[in-house]
């Protein structure tokens, strides 16, 4: 890699993929995410609205698993398996959209704070520190409560409480990239602030933004299920959080209906693990020093 030109990208991407798919945790993580994404996207092909409609449920009340209902039924008699697949759509969508918002906000703040190191950068870092000091769940609860029940308010609440880690990470990386000679070269050739940030720094912090995204999604999905469990979600929409909420408020817990309580929780754990393992694997390749952690 020449010191004066920006590092080439295509060869790096191929080497990255080669390293990535040699790690068992990376393969497991990507496989998990692939299965859940496909299940969520193709769900409308085999699940009809009548399957999810409380008034058209055909199964028994809280019936244990049987041949027709592999994971049993819920209180109104709907199939828990179909609810679980359908619930992935809301949980994944909210988690991913909230993360995208948070990562865009965090990256922009991190990039600006790293590039403009004078008052703007310092101000933005202070802002980040103050946000870190406020506990995120009470803040998210308050925001979602004031914005009203529903997916939009939960998404906004999660995005506002989860951008800080990305901002710090991107700022630190921007500082290292800005110290490299090719930035000086670009500046000498007359590149402006925006050009340096977008054309030269951003491509070099992009891999870290990817790491940050996968790790933030994991936290965002946990936050989404917690907020819907506390009753801030749309009660008519099926999601993993509302399923556990109904198991808690209904009689599933006191009647020991494990088939209604276990599947949504296991689904959450597996998806969060999938995102965390993928993120850690990318991190591992980018920074071998992190490998031992």
């Amino acid at each position: 890699m020449s010191a004066l030109t920006a590092p080439p990208r295509i060869g790096r991407a191929r080497r990255f993929a080669g390293q990535f798919f040699r790690m068992p945790t990376a393969i497991a993580g990507v496989a998990i995410l692939g299965v859940f994404t496909i299940a969520a996207l193709t769900a409308p092909l085999y699940i009809h609205s009548s399957d999810l409609d409380v008034t058209q449920a055909t199964g028994g009340q809280l019936a244990p698993p049987s041949r027709h209902y592999p994971l049993g039924t819920d209180q109104p008699g709907r199939s828990v398996l179909l609810l679980l697949i359908w619930g992935a759509r809301a949980s994944l969508a909210i988690g991913v959209i909230a993360t995208l918002l948070a990562v865009v906000l965090g990256s922009a703040i991190g990039l600006l704070a790293g590039h403009y190191q004078r008052w703007l950068g310092r101000g933005l870092m202070h802002l980040t520190d103050w946000f870190i000091a406020v506990p995120s769940l009470p803040l998210a609860i308050s925001l979602a409560a004031v914005l009203g029940q529903g997916a939009t308010s939960i998404t906004i609440a999660i995005a506002i409480t989860s951008w800080t880690a990305t901002a710090r990470l991107i700022r630190a990386q921007t500082l290292t990239v800005e110290a490299r000679p090719f930035i000086e070269r670009a500046r000498a050739l007359g590149a402006g602030n925006v050009q340096i940030m977008v054309r030269h720094v951003l491509p070099n912090v992009a891999p870290l933004i990817l790491v940050s995204t996968t790790l933030t999604v994991a936290g965002a999905i946990l936050a989404e299920t917690t907020l819907t469990f506390l009753g801030l979600g749309n009660p008519t929409e099926v999601s993993w959080g509302t399923m556990i909420n109904e198991a808690y408020t209904g009689s599933a817990v006191s009647r020991g209906a494990w088939w209604y309580l276990l599947p949504p929780g296991i689904a959450i754990v597996v998806v969060v693990l999938g995102f965390t393992m993928t993120g850690r694997a990318i991190e591992h390749i980018l920074d071998p020093r992190m490998a031992t952690r």
Partner: protein
Amino acid sequence: MSDVLAAELGAARGGGAPRWYRSSFWTYLGGKLLGATISFLVMLVIGFTIFNVMPSDPVAMLARQHPTDPAQKAALRHQLGLDLPVWHRFLNFVGHTLQGKLGDSWQYHQSVASLIGERLWPTVLLIGSATLISVALGLWLGIRAGWRHGSAFDRTASGVSLVLWSVPTFWLGLILLVLFTVGAGPIPSGLFPAGLMSTPGFSGSWLAHVGDTVHHLILPCLTLVLVIFAQYVTIMRSSIIDELGSPYLLTARAKGLRDDDVRRRHAVPNALLPSVTVIFLQLGTIVGGAIAVETVYSWPGLGFLTFQALQIPDLPLLEGTFIVLSASVIVMNLIADMLYRVLDPRVRQQ
């Protein structure tokens, strides 16, 4: 995580001031107090924005409970100070908050401050006991795992922590609740009470009351410990690994110390420093976990109060719990900064 620590160290290092000035304890304390005060003010701005600026019309929400005519609404608006400009309302809000006047709850018809006062101690008991247990457990496992990193013990400890970190707190709570109160397989039903902090109508000696509370505390505390101890394992493990290559460990071994002594007397004290800061910085996460756990077990603390306030939603009560929970996290971060200085001579001398 490490960048948070770097920022802590960077902040402690200070600028280019002369040496006597930088090494003064009071300057350090003053700087940290100022930082905490600004954090508190920013938190108040956030709270004010959420609860007083964002709701389009608090009077309309209040009026939903009682029929009110426009004249009464105007009077209520005046009484609540809603006809004042925003900056004036903010100053009033800050003044009232500092005096502990947090308004009246809409559902309990009682002052928010007194409600919070009643519910504060159960939360302190739950969070305190869970933190102590998980710190002890997490650090112990983290030290063992990091010292022999790559071993079967390390892989098991790291794997278990990773999985437990991914578990939603409230769901784990519900699972334990089903297992130990309803019973499953070999576990008899009713091993532990299903909720609350004490048996209703319980009478007995002082000691019996303590026993009853502990009996109720076990499940909520266990849930919280299982979810939070994983973070301490990860932090302690990575800071032990950071110390592993240090020359002073080689010296200690060359002196002929046993492996246990090298670890206990040389590696652990150095690796402990970053962990201490992180323990306190994690308090925000623990508070979040406590809200979920208290809800599941109807533990009469601030978290359950938040959940009850959400059902209406009872905005003054939510505002109160938000302010109290956030303020306590800020205070804990301040204590962490002080403790760090006491523990680490390097920070003291810089």
